[in-house]
């Protein structure tokens, strides 16, 4: 077993994926597998058909029963193909189909995971207790997948067999007089022959896929248990390291050699690979000519043929249709004389009215439906100042003046400033955010569009900034003016 030559990608797969891999294996090696299965099967089939020529269904039964016997050679061949080896000697193959065959043809014929267990007998050549022990380790969680494989492949056999019969029935003319059933509903002899041949064809066609799927399951389990993928990867790694070491040794000797050369013939060094302007351009152009850059591709697609030839002179078809439709309304009066029609009209009108009412009623919510709701989350704290309305005294200017008189200058101006911010949020719904600076707040007020308000707020902001950050006390008159301004612009009575 030489893992370097493994023909499938060794990696951990689920059971179902292993079965898919088995189908791919059967696809890839179909020629060898079919030859190996037909070699014992063909003579056997001919003999059986001759013996049971009057009731050929019996030969179908025998061939089906003997499946474990002629499934073995394909499996053996596939195991050689897997490692890219020669099929091996004839004597080795000759003994293969008969190895431990009796249990396989008797009680193990009904095993639901035959394809999965087969490699243990055929390839590992285990019997008795050793075989049982080995299978116990291998089965693991794959028993249900192996059962699924068996089940589906049996269905595929039925499907191919009956499909072939039905296809034959489709394509043979009635005049040929081939009938599958006689007038009592029993199979005729020709019917039996057709079913037998279709059945043998189905068994032969499906067998490689079934066997290979089981083999792939077995393989997957061994990859898992023996970590083939890790071994392959480790070997590659070891090889790479070894190559790198020898490459480095080679480099060193080359450099030493080049050094010696330089000492003896200094002129030779100048002949190194160096491109001048012209030759490098040629090189670039030749690279650009290459397939990687200059690929031409022909794309074919469907296009409406008569598109440009449309004749503008004629009246379009739909206009004529529409006019014809209007013609239908000529005898309106006649229709309306019918009471049922009146009821219908009333119902339609009522429905239209209902729709109109509903539209009127929910116009507001509907029109707001698609729009983004503005963010209502006003901040509670701006630059460390509490701006909730609850934190303010009832008469702000009076409190400010009182604080100022008590020489609480900072408290006084900060109260006025945060009262202004609070009012701006409440009354004018300005979208201040906690991340805004004082100047940005002032800019937002200006953007709101009331000139006197923005002028006032700008003065207030400046006064506050000077005091808070610059420690410059404003004049008492300025504070008085700001308080008056507050009453005019921001108190409840203003505007």
């Amino acid at each position: 077993m030489n893992l370097d030559k493994l023909q499938v990608n060794a990696c951990l797969r689920s059971g179902w994926q292993a079965i898919d891999l088995g189908f791919l294996m059967a696809r890839a090696w179909w020629r060898q597998i079919y030859i190996a299965s037909l070699l014992p099967l063909l003579p056997l089939t001919l003999v059986l058909l001759l013996v049971f020529s009057q009731s050929p269904l019996w030969s179908l039964l025998f061939i089906w029963w003997l499946k474990p016997f002629w499934e073995r050679l394909p499996l053996y061949i596939a195991s050689r193909m897997l490692f890219d080896e020669e099929p091996g000697t004839w004597s080795n193959m000759k003994s293969l189909p008969l190895k431990d065959i009796l249990p396989w043809l008797l009680w193990r014929r009904f095993s639901v995971q035959r394809a999965f267990d087969n490699p243990v007998t055929v390839l590992e050549e285990l019997k008795g207790t050793a075989r049982r022990e080995r299978l116990r380790i291998l089965h693991g969680r794959y028993t249900d997948v192996a059962l699924g494989n068996q089940l589906v492949c049996f269905c595929f056999e039925l499907l191919v067999a009956f499909g072939l019969v039905v296809m034959l029935d489709f394509f043979t003319p009635d005049t040929l007089g081939i009938r599958l059933y006689d007038s009592f509903g029993d199979l005729t002899l020709s019917g039996e022959w057709i079913f037998t041949l279709a059945g043998i064809a189905a068994i032969t066609l499906v067998m490689p896929f079934h066997t290979m799927a089981g083999f792939a399951l077995y393989l997957n389990r061994r990859i898992e248990l023996e970590a083939w993928d890790i071994e392959i990867s480790f070997r590659n790694l070891a090889n790479r390291k070894q190559r790198a070491t020898s490459h480095r040794a080679g480099m060193v000797s080359a450099i030493v050699f080049a050094g010696l050369m330089t000492l003896t013939m200094p002129a030779a060094v100048d002949a190194a690979v160096e491109h001048d302007h012209e030759s490098s351009r040629q090189l670039i152009e030749s690279v650009l000519q290459g397939q990687d850059f200059g690929e031409e591709r022909t794309v074919r697609k469907w296009r409406f043929k008569g598109w440009s030839e449309a004749d503008d002179e004629t009246i379009p078809e739909w206009v004529i249709d529409f006019l014809e439709w209007l013609e239908l309304f000529k005898d309106w009066a006649e229709v309306l004389s019918n009471i049922a029609a009146w009821v219908k009209v009333l119902l339609v009108l009522a429905f239209a009215g209902l729709l109109f009412y509903l539209f009127r009623r929910y116009r507001g919510p509907l029109s707001r439906l698609g729009r983004r709701q503005p963010e209502k989350t006003a901040p509670e704290v701006l630059f460390g100042l509490d701006v909730t309305p609850e934190s303010l005294p009832p008469d702000v200017p009076a409190r400010v003046m009182a604080l100022w008189a008590e020489a609480g200058y900072r408290e006084a101006l900060s109260l006025l400033y945060r009262a202004s911010l609070s009012r701006l949020i409440d009354k004018y719904e300005l979208a201040f955010r906690a991340s805004h600076t004082e100047a940005e707040c002032a800019a937002l007020v200006r953007a709101h569009g009331i000139d006197s308000l923005s002028e006032y707020f700008w003065q207030l902001t400046n006064a506050w900034r000077r005091l808070a950050y610059g420690h410059q006390l404003p004049e008492s008159e300025t504070i008085k003016g700001l308080c008056d301004g507050w009453t005019a612009e921001l108190s409840d009575e203003s505007q």
Partner: protein, 228 residues
């Protein structure tokens, strides 16, 4: 190299990979969907009895039958990540062959062509076309440019044992790192001699033999897993 892997290179040189799914799991998925459709149709036929067997009831029943037979796979594939209930149970899904989600048009085409795949009896054409190309595409898949892939399961982090990490003495490529991590995580499934055999391949890196080599490799694996 035989593999069920399907690879697409997208602009930017990134490779997308998926595992294609063959006839056996798809057969089971189809059988489950067939059962579900059968139950729905049975219930509908019971419901349509009170409406009268001749006119109304029969009409409704036939319309529903049509919708379910033709649109059941399409609706599930388009609105449920390419998975009908049967496919969901088998953890497989339909996808376009550039590995983008399946579109309405593609799903429509692949499911309308079921009629052809069904010929001459129960999907024989579908089975043959599926086995005639490497990606297991049936005729409908080939026409619509879709394929069936297995939905990758998110890997569960393995339980980490107490293990002293060890920095490797040499630089390793990513797949090599992965294989050493795999060695650590799967070592409880491997027999002792097999572990030693594997570790002996990397003697040039661990500079240890036998059990010590195994221990060294496991410690390097823990290092690659980010244990410090």
């Amino acid at each position: 190299m035989l593999d069920t892997r399907y690879r697409v290179e997208i602009p930017g040189g990134i490779n997308l990979e998926a595992q294609v799914v063959g006839p056996v799991p798809r057969f089971f998925a189809f059988a489950i969907d067939l059962g579900i459709r059968g139950i729905i149709i049975f219930v509908l036929s019971l419901l349509s009895i009170p409406l009268g067997s001749g006119g109304m009831g029969g009409g409704f029943f036939l319309i529903f039958l049509f919708v379910i037979e033709w649109l059941y796979p399409v609706l599930f594939e388009v609105f449920s990540r390419g998975q009908t209930p049967g496919k969901k149970l088998l953890k497989i899904s339909v996808i376009k062959d550039d590995l983008s989600p399946v579109t309405l048009g593609a799903s429509m085409v692949r499911n309308l062509l079921r009629t052809v795949d069904f010929l001459p009896l129960f999907y024989l054409v579908g089975l043959v076309t599926m086995l005639s190309n490497q990606r297991f595409q049936r005729l409908g898949d080939l026409a619509a440019g879709t394929l069936v892939i297995s939905v990758p399961e998110s890997a569960k982090p393995a339980a980490m044992q107490e293990i002293m990490p060890l920095a490797p003495s040499t630089s390793l490529l990513r797949p090599e790192q992965t294989s050493i991590i795999e060695f650590l995580q799967r070592s409880n499934q491997l027999s002792e001699p097999r572990q030693q055999e594997l570790a002996s391949i990397l003697e040039g890196i661990t500079h240890e033999k036998g059990d010590n080599g195994v221990e060294q490799l496991r410690r390097i694996g823990a290092w690659f897993l980010g244990v410090r």
